[in-house]
């Protein structure tokens, strides 16, 4: 750890922040201070439910949701860390976990994880992200695939389509059929940066998960210049041409009605879209969920997982709270509850999804995950900050979102710019 961090920690602890006093006599009541960005919607509901479970077990739950997106949450986290008062637990994910673990001390969860046998039921790629430096310091909570394919029933009818697309060739054919059948925009898309990123990564990983892993995840130069990535950009251009040009910077949720009505055909989106569609008043039989296109006909899973990281605190009640929270997060019943609220799938591979609280979409997703892990086709999502730290991700997404919005950029130009972005962000 560098000098400033240590000095900061010492200064902060010696500072005026009053730790709650516990009388020695009473047993320590677990308490947890939590920072997350989940202040609203199904995410907010899920973490609130988790909090209730925490309190049922006798703990004091102190959750501070930070309104805004991840940046605001990270600002708050950073401010607290600089102040020497990190929360006992905070939301964090992907390679950021490794980066942030270098600026403030974290809790070693190895014992708790071993006691719960958690490592056995977590996909290895995922586990690695949460144990930078070899020790568990954070726990993944839920998994989404970012490349699920949602098909509008009415649009399928218009296209007189009866088969679900499996490869990108199938997909393109279906899009053409939809267009011919009167579907104005075969693809419903928002204009946000992650959205554009998802189109590209779904194309690239769907065409060649090996090239995606080499190029995007490992930044191998050959893969970043090869024929697969060029084909991916060309496919992304096709997708961009099938989208509504008037979307602007709006989120995909503005197109839900058109999607359900059949004026827009397909949605390439993470599994969370199911919850959004239902909450907006649409029904499960308005749409079909299937894994995103994959050219070798075996599902490719672009992983996005939320997690909690535990920061070192000296207060015994916070330490007890962290222990309780860790146990809850690893508990299959809690993961079931959480995922059923948000529409994700649990991290644990041993959870049975055949029950009533689960949707077909979630079952499909879980099956796809299992399949993909088995075939080494489970890769980390770039658009959702799982493949790299935020700085590098944002630099790459700059190129991708510019490519999607600006039709004059050619795939070759995009490839060059992507390479420059990777170089520049190092």
């Amino acid at each position: 750890m560098n000098k400033i961090s240590r000095r900061t920690m010492l200064a902060g602890t010696a500072g005026l922040f009053v730790a709650p006093r516990l009388s020695r006599a009473q047993a320590v009541k677990p308490r947890l201070t939590v920072i997350s960005q989940w202040s609203a919607g199904s995410d907010g509901a899920a973490i609130t439910a988790l909090g209730k479970k925490f309190e049922e077990k006798g703990g004091i739950w102190q959750h501070s949701p930070v309104p805004g997106f991840t940046t605001e949450m990270m600002n708050k986290l950073r401010a607290q860390i600089i102040a020497g008062d990190p929360p006992a637990c905070s939301q964090l994910k992907g390679p950021e976990i490794a980066a942030w673990s270098k600026i403030a001390p974290t809790v070693n969860l190895d014992d708790l994880v071993a006691a719960a046998g958690y490592e056995k039921v977590v996909a290895p790629d995922l586990a690695k992200l949460h144990k930078p430096g070899g020790k568990w310091i954070s726990l993944p909570l839920q998994i989404y695939a970012t490349n699920m394919l949602f098909l509008s029933k009415r649009a399928m009818d218009k296209a007189k389509a009866d088969k679900l697309p499996v490869t990108w060739a199938d997909f393109n054919a279906l899009a053409e059929k939809m267009k011919a059948g009167g579907v104005t925009y075969p693809i419903a898309n928002g204009g946000t940066r992650p959205d554009d990123g998802q189109k590209f990564e779904a194309s690239f990983a769907g065409m060649s998960p090996t090239a995606y892993r080499a190029g995007i995840m490992n930044l191998d130069e050959t893969a970043l210049k090869g024929p697969e990535i060029k084909a991916a950009f060309e496919q992304t251009r096709k997708l961009a041409n099938w989208m509504d040009p008037n979307t602007g910077a709006q989120p995909y949720a503005t197109h839900l009605k058109s999607f359900v009505d059949g004026d827009m055909g397909m949605l390439i989106m993470g599994g969370w879209a199911q919850g959004v569609l239902l909450n907006a008043g649409f029904k499960l039989d308005d749409f079909i969920i299937t894994p995103g296109p994959s050219d070798n006909s075996k599902p490719v899973f672009l992983l996005n997982a939320d997690a909690f990281i535990f920061w070192q605190r000296s207060e015994p009640d916070l330490q007890a709270g962290q222990k309780l929270m860790a146990q809850l997060v690893m508990d299959p019943a809690i993961q079931t509850m959480y995922s059923q609220i948000t529409g994700s799938i649990p991290v644990r591979t041993d959870v049975d999804l055949s029950g009533a609280g689960w949707s077909d979409g979630q079952r499909t997703t879980a099956a796809a995950l299992k399949n993909a892990v088995g075939n080494n086709q489970a890769v980390l999502s770039l658009a959702h900050n799982m493949a790299h730290e935020n700085g590098l991700t944002a630099a790459m997404i700059d190129v991708i979102t510019d490519y999607v919005k600006n039709k004059t950029v050619t795939p070759d130009q995009a490839i060059t710019r992507l390479a420059e972005a990777v170089e520049g962000a190092r």
């Binding site: 961090s5 900061t8 940066r193 008037n246 910077a249 700085g391 700059d398 510019d402 490519y403």
Partner: protein, 309 residues
């Protein structure tokens, strides 16, 4: 009171007791001013220091020379942001100035309902930038906003899709920003118009000057100092405008409407590269200085000319 004056006027009085007597006065003058000046200078220096360190998520010490600066300047983001600032800055300042002046002149025509009108043009200042950006993002969206409205009214070939057009999107920000802050320019100009020397106006009328010549010869020159103030304040707004752009275009479509304030926030807080973000912030300040220094120099020369006259 007179004792104090007499006491202070007595020759040979030691200075210290005078100082002690005037301590509360010194405190209330100096403490706030020093706090203000102190925090400004120290924050600016701190940011400059950080721009030379390898700071990423949190500030760390170290020295990387100019690497952060060259890295930021090499990105397409920064080049686009810089160009956009020049375009947006000049267009916005000019348009809000002209709009404010036009509105002030209109209202000054002694029309009825001046109070209502003034409130209508001033209220956007009361609205937060986030709300302004969001509402204008709806209004300017071709699919749901003005274009759709006009199309539905019958004029189906009408196009107003600047918001989603990479080349024109920056002008949507100009529109929203002009809407938000022309009212302030209008208020200042109205104040100026009302303070025009009545004698000058009467003299010009006697000379037979029509309304246009009146404006050119008498009124507009009086407004010159106000114009300068408006330009300065609008410039500050133009350079630091951040919430508005984030809500309206978020730098898009793609990265077409990137602006330095956005890039700084992005680098510092979103991408977790504080050193680079600080470098971008320092460059932003330099751009500001490039505009302010000539103005300060001009004012200084003016003052010298006035004192030497």
């Amino acid at each position: 009171m007179t004792d104090a004056v007499a006491a202070a006027a007595r020759p040979g009085r030691p200075a210290t007791s005078g100082v002690i007597r005037r301590l509360p006065e010194y405190l209330i003058i100096w403490v706030p001013l020093l706090l203000s000046a102190g925090h400004l200078v120290s924050f600016a220096l701190w940011t400059i220091w950080i721009s030379f360190t390898p700071s990423t998520l949190v500030p760390v010490s170290g020295w990387v020379g100019l690497r952060n600066y060259t890295a930021v300047m090499a990105t397409r983001n920064w080049k686009i942001a810089f160009d956009n600032l020049l375009l947006f800055g000049s267009a916005f300042v000019l348009l809000s100035l002209l709009t404010g002046l036009a509105l002030a002149i209109l209202i000054d025509q002694r029309i009825r309902g001046e109070n209502v009108l003034r409130s209508i043009f001033l209220y956007p200042l009361a609205v937060s930038f986030v709300v302004t950006g969001t509402v204008w993002s709806w209004l300017l969206n071709p699919g749901i906003g003005i274009q759709k409205l006009v199309n539905d009214l019958g004029w189906t070939s009408f196009r107003f899709d600047w918001l989603v057009n990479g080349d024109m999107a920056i002008w949507t920000i100009v529109i929203a920003a002009v809407w938000q802050s022309s009212g302030f320019a209008m208020a200042l100009f109205l104040a100026g118009l009302r303070s025009v020397d009545a004698d000058l106006v009467k003299a010009a009328q006697i000379d037979g000057a029509g309304p246009i010549r009146m404006y050119r010869r008498v009124i507009l020159p009086t407004l010159w100092p106000i114009t300068v103030t408006v330009v300065v304040i609008q410039l500050q707004f133009a350079i630091s405008t951040f919430d508005l752009v984030r809500a309206l275009t978020n730098g898009g479509p793609g990265i077409a409407t990137q602006l330095p304030a956005l890039v700084v926030y992005d680098l510092m807080f979103q991408r977790g590269v504080l050193g680079r973000g600080a470098a971008a912030a320092v460059m932003m300040l330099l751009i500001l200085l490039a505009v302010l220094l000539p103005y300060a120099a001009w004012r200084y020369l003016q003052r010298r000319r006035a004192t030497h006259a």
